[in-house]
Subunit: 204 residues, 2 copies
Amino acid sequence: MGNPTIILASGSAIRADILRSAGVPFEIIKPETDETVIKRAAKDDSAGLEETAMMLAEAKCLNVARQLKADKTDAIVIGSDQIMEFEGRGFDKPANMGEARSRLKTLQGATHSLINAIAVARHGSVIWRNIARPKLTMRPMSDTEIDAYLNAASADILYTVGAYQVEKLGARLFERIEGDYFAVLGLTLYPLLDLLRSEGALEF
Amino acid sequence: MGNPTIILASGSAIRADILRSAGVPFEIIKPETDETVIKRAAKDDSAGLEETAMMLAEAKCLNVARQLKADKTDAIVIGSDQIMEFEGRGFDKPANMGEARSRLKTLQGATHSLINAIAVARHGSVIWRNIARPKLTMRPMSDTEIDAYLNAASADILYTVGAYQVEKLGARLFERIEGDYFAVLGLTLYPLLDLLRSEGALEF
């Protein structure tokens, strides 16, 4: 009987970096969830943005929990989702650079939120949920500045809901961030570490 | 006439990482300041903790600014200092692991501040100053947990004022951080980027 295995149900490089930096041992199993179906269901249910993010986080951790082999049924499975909210509307990842450009034009000089939902499953059901909602204020930027950023940034920004990587060159778009920085990056860390300790998965 | 050179007057690896991640081009010149002398002067002046941190940041950037060769006199020189504050008292880096242990025993289960002062010099005088004061709440920890952390962490924690590296294994000591995460790491980023833009050192 060792510590239970921790599994990150996400293909996100930065979520893995966050756990790795904090010295958390874990494995990665990418969930096979159809996000479109879940988002449509959320819409049909008139789910709010936080509720939708949580539905996605739950679907991811449960999908992986149900695939576990017999030697891993005790594992702790972490699912997470992020939705960008601006003026009451939710935004998903931009489809292409044109969409990224118009996203940044919309967000410059204003405050938006990044909703991070985490759901943790063990023994086939969700045992823990967490929602964080940090607020980010982008500085006012001209179209020329936005284009200079898009030219300098890599296409990896298309994997982010805000069309920026705040931990890289995207730092230069911001004036202020209020709330948990790890929630901004996509995985609210301190409450999750607390859960992992209480499940006996970490020594401290 | 290109952009002015940016010089980081600090030997801190994490301050360099912060600028590098944000895509800021810079050189490093370590200041040759005697911190003990400045701290004694601050004490004699009954300077507060923020004032003391600022005196140190100014001394660092001015020391480097005065060493600049003729081809670099236009450079923008960044000095920074960090002091830990707990219950009104200032704390410097712990001298050894024993001191680190008692520091963590003091801080566990309570809230402390990390004062980050930045001073920027150009053409031989200080042109800009910034103070940030994020608040960090450490979770309650037993002596066993503190020892487990100290055994697992590297001696690099002795280069930090709090006896932890919050960006590494030290994340596991915290419950909550309020304020600028980069100020916690040692270099308040967004206001500094703003200054660098206004001095013509960055395109965006």
